[in-house]
């Protein structure tokens, strides 16, 4: 008897729960099931993933380029070429002394012959008797700040020590800036294309949803609903779809950044991440990449809502 009573009460509770859930679902004027939600969510997730990936790649290149430029700006090189009748070691010492006395210079290192030869090894190989060749010698000058008087140093070197020149690596820095700028511009272009493709997908999805729900739109019209009300009903659905898809795609991209930066790179390169960082900086996407992915998710969600709203307005105007 007690079991039967309990079973009855459970049935009543289940029915109430079902009615509550049913009431919540039926309360939507545009049924969620009537919109091709899963396909559009997937498209939005993929677009959000690609956009986040592009943003991550752009920040990676920009950070690496910034590191490279910073490194380049921290050093200049004095090249002392052998000149007939002059002792190159003396000239090196004079040039180094001049550099040390220059404002903004933190340290000066004269590369010896062995270091000089090791720099040439990649091009000439080892075991060659090149010590008798009149090779230029290098002095590495490290700068303490941006206010180093490099123009003055270059002028003094040229005036007082024939065959010397100062290379501030400006050509390299300029090329790096150009390359980084082009990469960022390409990334922004890709982002723009991804957003445009997303918008077009949403336009088609909204038109499909409106066609599938034309009977509801018609009823809403004849009971006196304004276009804005109908647009809001569709917009609400598409905002949720956009949020779901956007967050899924951006989340996947953020996870990928984390896996590559914190697991794959240490795993594949072990302790030799130093050589990788010469090319790609730290090879980890910084906070801007992660927050950017989150921002992309919300931008895509808002864009989804806005695009669907405008499409509904446009369709209603066409059908009037």
């Amino acid at each position: 008897m007690a079991d039967a009573d309990l079973a009855h009460r459970l049935q009543v509770a289940a029915e109430r729960r079902r009615r509550r859930v049913g009431a919540r679902r039926s309360n939507q004027l545009i049924p969620e099931s009537s919109i091709a939600g899963s396909a559009l969510t997937m498209v939005i997730a993929i677009m959000s993933f690609l956009a986040s990936l592009t943003l991550g790649a752009v920040t990676l290149v920009r950070d690496a380029s910034s590191d490279w430029q910073l490194d380049i700006r921290r050093e200049v090189t004095i090249q002392v070429r052998p000149v007939e009748g002059a002792d190159i070691e003396t000239e090196l010492a004079r040039a180094a002394a001049m550099a040390r006395l220059t404002q903004g210079v933190s340290s000066v290192e004269v590369l010896d012959q062995a270091q000089n030869l090791s720099l040439l090894e990649p091009w000439l190989g080892t075991g060659l008797a090149i010590s008798d060749l009149p090779l230029p010698r290098l002095i590495v000058v490290r700068l303490g700040g941006r206010n180093a008087d490099l123009a003055g140093l270059a002028a003094r070197l040229q005036a007082e020590i024939p065959g010397t020149s100062l290379d501030d690596h400006g050509a390299w820095a300029s090329r790096l800036r150009t390359m980084a700028g082009a990469t960022v511009a390409a990334g922004l272009l890709i982002l723009g294309l991804v957003f445009a493709a997303t918008a077009v997908s949403i336009v088609f999805a909204t038109r499909g949803a409106m066609a599938g729900n034309s009977h509801i739109v018609s009823v809403l019209h004849f009971v006196g609903a304004e276009d804005g009300y109908i647009a809001r009903e569709f917009q609400r659905h598409f905002l949720l779809l956009g949020l779901r898809g956007g967050l899924a795609g951006a989340g996947a991209a953020a996870l990928m950044f984390a896996v590559i930066g914190f697991i794959l790179v240490p795993l594949l390169f072990g302790s030799d991440t130093q050589s990788l960082s010469v090319l790609f900086g730290r090879f980890t996407v910084g906070p801007i990449g992660y927050f950017g992915a989150l921002a992309i998710a919300f931008v895509i969600a808002l864009m989804t809502a806005l695009t669907s709203r405008l499409t509904v307005y446009s369709q209603l105007a066409e059908n009037r």
């Binding site: 004027l29 009823v219 019209h221 004849f222 009971v223 006196g224 304004e226 276009d227």
Partner: protein, 230 residues
């Protein structure tokens, strides 16, 4: 509502030399002239395909005439902007032959729809909707969805939806077409009661027997032309 009607000195709707054609086809309605006065009651009749539904669509502003003037609540409809349609439609209740209830909403939600779309809170209209549903005999069908309702129940739900905002005019397209004679008479009594309360009523029907039971003006459509009796 009476006070609102007194403010409208003229006709609710006036048609002057109205003609309508679809695309480049022949005119389906020709030289239509008539008016609907406040608190009036009339039948719109004629053989099937005579253009009754088209005329109702014109009355409800879901079609525009290809010639002539249609004046609704004192405004000629060619002067209406997109934003004007919704407030004008709220003053007209429509009952369609195919009911046009939303299957995913309950009877209560369907009937409350005209109030919901103008932003009213459910708490402000719940009692009114329930009372109206009881009045049309659907007091025990409040939480039922249309797919499991009978034709007569759907018809009454559609009528309740058309009446919930106390419109100045009710247009009903074959409202008794899907119900048995006793229910048809019951629905007609409902419309007459509504008319006594101040709403102008136009009922499109081809049921001569039904019309013969009531003394009301008849608008007869035949070959696209309208003749008025009474």
């Amino acid at each position: 509502m009476q006070q609102r009607h007194q403010q409208e000195a003229g006709d609710l709707i006036r048609f002057e030399n109205v003609g309508l054609r679809y695309g480049v086809g022949p005119e389906v309605l020709r030289d239509i002239n008539f008016n609907i006065a406040p608190q009036s009651f009339q039948f719109l009749t004629g053989p099937s395909g005579a253009g009754k539904t088209t005329l109702i669509r014109l009355l409800f502003m879901s079609l525009r005439p290809t010639r002539g003037l249609v004046t609704v609540f004192g405004r000629e409809i060619s002067t209406l902007t997109a934003a004007d349609y919704a407030p004008f439609r709220r003053r007209i209740g429509v009952v369609f032959q195919d009911f046009r209830l939303l299957d995913h909403l309950t009877t209560f939600e369907n009937v409350a729809l005209p109030l919901r779309v103008i932003g009213r809170e459910e708490s402000s209209y719940r009692a009114d909707v329930v009372e109206l549903l009881r009045w049309v005999g659907l007091g025990d069908q409040i939480n039922v969805h249309p797919p499991i309702m009978s034709g007569g129940e759907k018809q009454r739900a559609a009528i309740a939806r058309a009446l919930i905002t106390q419109p100045e005019m009710l247009l009903a397209d074959e409202p008794t077409g899907n119900v048995d004679p006793p229910l048809a008479r019951r629905l007609m009594r409902l419309f007459i009661e509504l008319n006594r309360l101040g709403t102008a009523v136009l009922i499109a029907t081809h049921d001569i027997n039904l019309m013969n039971q009531f003394d009301a003006r008849r608008l007869v459509l035949e070959d696209g032309r309208l003749t008025i009796y009474g």
